[in-house]
Symmetry: C2
Subunit: 399 residues, 2 copies
């Protein structure tokens, strides 16, 4: 079985002309609104958005005119407007910005010393923050991007359907996770779990059993877990799956560079009525928010809908964690797992058609484990459309 | 089988007092030499070095006096000198630096906007680059660190010994890689492949078959590969393993937060005499450099030893790649895969006892694939000691 041949040649620009211009135009509009004359982009996720591939180099996009691709590696990359460089200072030989113009650099993600060097490439310009423009542009997905996310979702679901076949009594969380990792990879999962920012780390997702779901992690994910080593303190920790435990599976859905985020709760034996009830509340929150998330609705209002439903059910102490609580119940997703918008109490984001959002209202029930589900949705004029449609009830591994 | 229970409590500081002070003192000496009064550290790899665990927060280390640990997450972390904070500005309530003092921040890795915020925490101080101090301190491993690397090596070797059992005729590179990933994970591999800098990405290592070894990648690794998707263009690409191909296995050796880097060449059928000869030259380069790498020797000289041996063998066009050549033949390794020193033509690094170095003189032979080996060594007074001792000849998968 050949999983995938290399589907691309060694060219710089893979997106077809129309899709590329759609994305570049979205940026150009934001640049015009924010008085930026050009942006210079080198973050891998942003390069992938603007060109359809990752390379070592820069995309220079002016508010008017075509992008220029400055490429350090790979060697001999060909394509329109591709310029081979060895160091960023060579960009100045091809691009000249007048006194008082504004060039956007990725100030939120690029290291300080790298920015200090890039600033000198544009000695007459002021510097603005391109990270926020890219974040905003990428939050509204094109139809092609939504289709890639839907395709990732189909494979993601196929993997989750296989999970009961992997379970054997006496198994540990990490052993089950390893079988899911293998099944995902065999279906084409790239393994890589792209997260913006250097402080977030995770290997192929999170599988949490019993009390480990309540272990506080340093990372800003919805759930924690102790992990198997203090160098990566998150996720499965070697806990044996016992009767009465839930197994929350929140594993990697990156099959094409665009990710789905999906959680399903599995269980062994009989779990408590309270845990079953909390799982039901999670599903109810999904239904309610999916209906209410119309264009123009504030993401903070969506958060409060979820938090209030948890409170009315008497489950606030367990909502989004017990010993440590996550500060959000949903997040944008696409090339990275932490895109805009954020569904959080003080979010200033507003729902717009084309946003893709992972919604994950979850509970940690002491003695049982984590319950609840996560789906990835695309915002439409009529509410949220589910890109990860799969049975949502608790799935028993020992049936 | 329980792979690992969580071996640590939810405490901030895991290193025993002596080991912690050994590492902190190494930094304090460098701070004194470089006129830094304090450093503030938040990069995960550096936090792990200074404390033995990752958390969301900062280590403040003064040139005289004890470290203070400012922790945002996880909640309720306890330990000596641990201060809970919600935002970095709170650090100023606990630390005061006088006018004209110098505080080191991680300017090579921390994003520009984060540094701009941290600078305001120390309004009277000048800012220096702590990244270079950390890089220098971490390049000389303590005996405890060397022991962890040796232990990773033992597991790494055990995984590589299993590889022939995974091979079946007609298999693709990625299918073989997936079985190696699973075997590694079952032996406790954390999966995570920690690399400094945001532009380098790889999922659990690189397995290259035949011509794919010659595919130029955007990443600054020794070898390339097309990968299975343009969002992660490196490594296995779905190539079927045919008779006469080599299979270069350069997979993840992170079993405890410290990594080994090890490559072995496997093959199917009969490979050409030239490829066999090049493999032998790689081993000879290892022997020669291991003997010559005495304390005080320049890393640039070690590079030239390797390059000259390749040239004398008439193999320069294939050395470190064919269509694209890597610019180094070795690199420091430990918590991250790209530590100091670098064995490259213009390296200014000098060998010192306690440095841990992955040496990887490799060749790409058109029609066959990549050959050569990589070992992880520790520098001793008498030369390099191999931390990945395993048979070095080509291992045939179909025997």
């Amino acid at each position: 079985m050949k999983i995938s041949s290399s589907p691309y040649s060694n060219r710089a620009v893979l997106l077809d002309d129309a899709e590329r211009e759609r994305r570049h135009d979205a940026l150009r509009r934001l640049m015009a609104d924010n008085k930026a004359d050009a942006i210079l982009i080198s973050d891998n996720a942003n390069l992938f958005y603007l060109t359809g591939r990752v390379f070592d180099g820069y995309v220079y996009l002016p508010v008017e005119g075509d992008a220029i691709y400055f490429v350090r590696r790979p060697v001999k990359l060909t394509g329109d407007n591709v310029v081979e460089i060895h160091k960023p200072e060579q960009i100045a030989e091809h691009v000249h910005l007048e006194f008082g113009t504004v060039v956007g650099l990725e100030l939120d993600v690029t290291p300080y010393n790298t920015i200090a060097r890039l600033v000198r490439v544009f000695p007459l310009s002021e510097v603005g923050n391109a990270s926020q423009l890219m974040r905003r542009a990428r939050s509204i997905k094109t139809p092609e991007e939504i289709e890639l996310i839907r395709l990732s979702g189909e494979k993601h679901i196929a993997v989750y359907r296989e999970i009961p076949a992997f379970y054997t009594p006496g198994m540990s969380d990490i052993e089950l996770q390893i079988e899911i990792e293998r099944a995902s990879r065999l279906k084409g999962c790239l393994g890589q779990f792209r997260i913006s920012g250097q402080s977030m780390e995770l290997h192929m997702g999170n599988l949490l059993v019993g009390e480990n779901a309540d272990f506080p992690s340093p990372y800003d994910f919805a759930m924690g877990g102790a992990g198997i080593n203090p160098s990566l303190p998150v996720g499965a920790d070697g806990t044996i799956i016992h009767s009465g435990n839930t197994v929350m599976v929140d594993m990697n859905g990156n099959f094409n560079g665009y990710m789905t985020d999906m959680t399903r709760t599995y269980a062994v034996g009989r779990i408590t009525d309270e845990a079953l009830r909390a799982h039901r509340v999670s599903i109810d929150i999904h239904r309610r928010i999916a209906a209410e998330a119309l264009p123009g609705v504030k993401c903070s209002d969506l958060y409060h809908i979820g938090a209030e439903m948890a409170e009315q059910a008497g489950l606030s102490p367990y909502f989004m964690g017990h010993r440590q609580h996550a500060g959000f119940i949903g997040h944008g997703i696409g090339i990275e797992v932490n895109e805009a918008p954020v569904i959080a109490p003080r979010s200033r984001d507003v729902i717009e058609p084309g946003m893709v959002i992972a919604l994950e209202p979850k509970f940690v029930i002491p003695g049982t484990g984590a319950v609840g589900i996560e789906n990835t949705y695309v915002a439409r004029d009529s509410g949220l459309e589910n890109l990860t449609p799969m049975e949502e009830d608790i799935i028993y591994l020992d049936n």
